[in-house]
C-alpha cells in the first residue's frame, strides 16, 4: 500500500472508509426496513397534494412517496446520499494537497522525484477510488435492504443512481481539491466547497417553486444529478457527462495552480 501516492492516500483513509462504509450500510439497510410500513401509508401522499415547496426542497419532486422509486428518491437519493458523498469527497479533496501542506508533510513528499501534476492526479485518483468504494458499499446496502423487504426495484438502476450520486460527490471533491491545490488552505477549501455544495443543492431543489430561480437551475451540479431521476430512468449520460466534464476542468485547474505556486512551509 506504500507503492505510490495513490495507494498511500487510499491507505490513509482505511479507518475513515470503514466508518463511512458502516454508516452508509446502516443508513441504507435501516431506511429500507421502513419501506413496508411506509408503502401502505398512502395518506402520506397527502403531503404532496398542497404542492408544498418546502417539502419538495428536502425530498424532491416525487409523484408517489409509496412507490419504490418515490420512496428511494425521497428517503435516500434526493438528499441523504449525495450529501454523504459530497461531504466525504470534499474532505478528501481538501486534504489532498492542502492537508499535507498544513501538516508539513508536503516537503518530504515533494523531495522525492515526482512531478507536482502527478501528485495532484494520484491524489485525485485516490479520491475516486474511495468514493467509488463507498458507492459499492451503498449499493450493497440498498440491494440487501431491497431483498429483505422484497422491494420491486431494478438493482441496475439502483447502481446507476448511486453512481450518479458518486459523480456528483466527486465533482465537489474536485472543487475542494482545486481550492486546496491553488491556495494550500484546507479549512477554507472545505468551507467554500461545502458552502457552494449546500447553495447548489437548494438552488436545484427550490428552483421549480421559485420564479426567478428556474432559469438558473442549470448552474447547479445537483441539477445534473437528480433532475433526470436516475432511480427511475437510469443514468442520464448527458447529465453524467456534464458532471465528469466539470470535474475534469476542476482537476485541470488544480494541476495548473499547484504547479505554479510556491509551496507553504
Amino acid at each position: 500500500m506504500l507503492r505510490s501516492v495513490l495507494s498511500k492516500t487510499v491507505r490513509d483513509q482505511n479507518r475513515s472508509l470503514l466508518w463511512w462504509g458502516l454508516g452508509l450500510i446502516i443508513l441504507t439497510v435501516v431506511t429500507m426496513l421502513f419501506y413496508p410500513s411506509l408503502s401502505e401509508a398512502t395518506e402520506l401522499n397527502d403531503l404532496l397534494v398542497d404542492d408544498n415547496p418546502l417539502i419538495k426542497a428536502f425530498i424532491g419532486d416525487v409523484p408517489d412517496l409509496t412507490s419504490p422509486e418515490g420512496f428511494l428518491n425521497s428517503q435516500i437519493f434526493f438528499l441523504m446520499l449525495p450529501l454523504m458523498f459530497l461531504a466525504f469527497a470534499v474532505a478528501q479533496g481538501s486534504g489532498a494537497i492542502a492537508g499535507e501542506e498544513e501538516k508539513g508533510t508536503l516537503d518530504m513528499l515533494m523531495s522525492n522525484p515526482i512531478d507536482r501534476w502527478r501528485v495532484v492526479i494520484e491524489k485525485f485518483g485516490a479520491m475516486i477510488v474511495t468514493v467509488l468504494a463507498l458507492a459499492v458499499v451503498t449499493w450493497l446496502g440498498l440491494a440487501v435492504g431491497a431483498v429483505a423487504v422484497s422491494m420491486e426495484i431494478s438493482y441496475v438502476k439502483m447502481a446507476e443512481a448511486t453512481l450518479a450520486a458518486a459523480l456528483l460527490g466527486i465533482a465537489f471533491g474536485g472543487f475542494a481539491l482545486a481550492l486546496g491545490s491553488a491556495t494550500g488552505r484546507r479549512a477554507m477549501s472545505i468551507g467554500v466547497a461545502g458552502g457552494v455544495g449546500a447553495a447548489s443543492y437548494f438552488l436545484n431543489a427550490l428552483a421549480p417553486a421559485v420564479d426567478g430561480l428556474e432559469l438558473l437551475r442549470w448552474l447547479s451540479p445537483f441539477y445534473y444529478y437528480s433532475s433526470a431521476d436516475p432511480i427511475t430512468n437510469g443514468l442520464h449520460l448527458g447529465h453524467a457527462g456534464v458532471l465528469v466534464a466539470l470535474t475534469a476542468v476542476l482537476l485541470a485547474i488544480a494541476v495548473v495552480t499547484f504547479n505554479r505556486r510556491d509551496l507553504g512551509v
Binding site: 506504500l2 505510490s4 508533510t105 522525492n112 515526482i114
Partner: protein, 300 residues
C-alpha cells in the same frame, strides 16, 4: 571540477520583504559546503528554491547543470534532502516512511538503507507520532542518505542529535565526501560548520557576505577567552600579544578576544599561574564583526 550547485543573482521576495537577494553560489562536486547564517537569514529559502518548492523572484539556480524549475524531478532523483522543520507521516512506522520514499524513488538498495538506519540507531518499528524529536531527525537523515544521492542537502542537520550520533553523522558526511559526492549543509552554528565543511558561504539578512575556505574562516574567527589567574598579573602583560584584542584585566581575570590562532596568547599566559580557562564557542556575530568591524550598520 564539476559545478554541482550554481546560482546567479538569486532573489526571492515576499511582497516588499526580501528573503534573499542576489545570491551567487558555486558548489563543486565532492565538497562539503557550509551555508552559514543566523536564523532568518534566508538559508531555507535558498534550499527550497534548489528543490523547486518555491520559485525565485529573479535570478537562476541550477543543480547538476539542470535548471531548478524545468528539470526539478531529474534533480530530485539525485538529491537527498533533510528539511529544517521536518514533519513525517504520523501514522506510519519508521520502516514504512522509508519504504514509501523508496517506492517513490523507484526502489533503493534496502540493505544500505538499513545499514544507515542502524548506524544512527534509528527506531524503525514504531509509529512516527510516538518518536522523540531526535528519533525523527534520525529517520530524516536516513531518508536523505539511503539512496546514495549525488548531492545531499541538509537544513540544520544536527539539531536534536545527541553528541555520539553527531559524531556518527560527521563520519557519514566524510564518507560521502570520500566517494566524491557533494554535501550542502545549512547551519547557524559556526563550530559545526568548521568541523565538517570544506568551504563556507556566509549569508546574513538575505545577502551573501562571503565565501571562504574553512581555514581562512578559522583565521578570521574571533574566540572569546577568559583566564583566571592564581597570582597578581600586571594589567598590561598581554597588551602587545599578536592577535589579541579587547584586553581587560579585572580581579585577576583576563578577558580578551583572539583572532585566529591562540598560540601567541597561550605562550604569553604560560608564564603565570592559571587556575581556570573559559573558552566560549565562537559566535556567528563575531565572524560578521571580523568582516565588517561593525556588523549592524554595514550589512547592506
Amino acid at each position: 571540477m564539476t559545478t554541482v550547485v550554481e546560482t546567479h543573482s538569486l532573489s526571492k521576495s515576499y511582497g516588499s520583504v526580501e528573503a534573499i537577494s542576489e545570491i551567487g553560489l558555486e558548489v563543486q562536486e565532492g565538497e562539503v559546503f557550509g551555508y552559514l547564517g543566523p536564523n532568518g537569514a534566508g538559508k531555507t529559502t535558498t534550499i527550497r528554491i534548489l528543490l523547486d518548492f518555491i520559485r525565485p523572484t529573479s535570478g537562476t539556480a541550477s543543480v547538476f547543470g539542470l535548471d531548478s524549475k524545468e528539470s526539478s524531478r531529474h534533480i530530485r532523483r539525485r538529491v537527498g534532502y533533510l528539511p529544517g522543520e521536518m514533519t513525517l507521516y504520523d501514522r506510519l512506522t519508521g520502516r514504512d516512511v522509508l519504504a514509501y520514499s523508496a517506492s517513490l524513488r523507484g526502489g533503493v538498495d534496502w540493505s544500505y538503507a538499513l545499514e544507515i538506519a542502524e548506524r544512527l540507531e534509528t527506531e524503525l518499528s514504531r509509529q512516527v507520532r510516538t518518536l522523540s524529536r531526535g528519533n525523527r531527525q534520525k529517520l530524516g537523515l536516513v531518508l536523505a542518505f539511503m539512496h546514495r544521492p549525488d548531492l545531499i542537502i541538509m537544513d540544520e542537520p544536527s539539531s536534536g542529535l545527541d553528541p555520539l550520533l553527531q559524531q556518527e553523522f560527521h563520519r557519514m558526511v566524510d564518507e560521502v565526501r570520500a566517494e566524491g559526492r557533494t554535501v550542502f549543509i545549512s547551519s547557524h552554528i559556526l563550530p559545526e560548520v568548521e568541523r565538517i565543511c570544506d568551504r563556507v558561504a556566509i549569508i546574513r539578512r538575505g545577502r551573501l557576505v562571503t565565501v571562504e575556505d574553512i581555514g581562512t574562516l578559522r583565521e578570521r574567527a574571533l574566540h572569546r577567552l577568559e583566564f583566571h589567574f592564581g597570582e597578581q598579573v600586571p594589567a598590561d602583560a598581554f597588551a602587545g600579544v599578536p592577535g589579541v584584542q579587547d584586553v581587560t584585566m579585572e580581579d585577576g581575570v583576563l578577558y580578551c578576544t583572539v583572532l585566529g590562532s591562540p598560540n601567541a596568547l597561550i605562550k604569553a599566559v604560560a608564564g603565570f599561574d592559571v587556575v581556570k580557562l573559559v573558552s566560549e564557542e565562537p559566535h556567528l556575530e563575531d565572524v560578521f564583526l571580523s568582516y565588517y568591524g561593525d556588523g549592524e550598520n554595514n550589512a547592506a
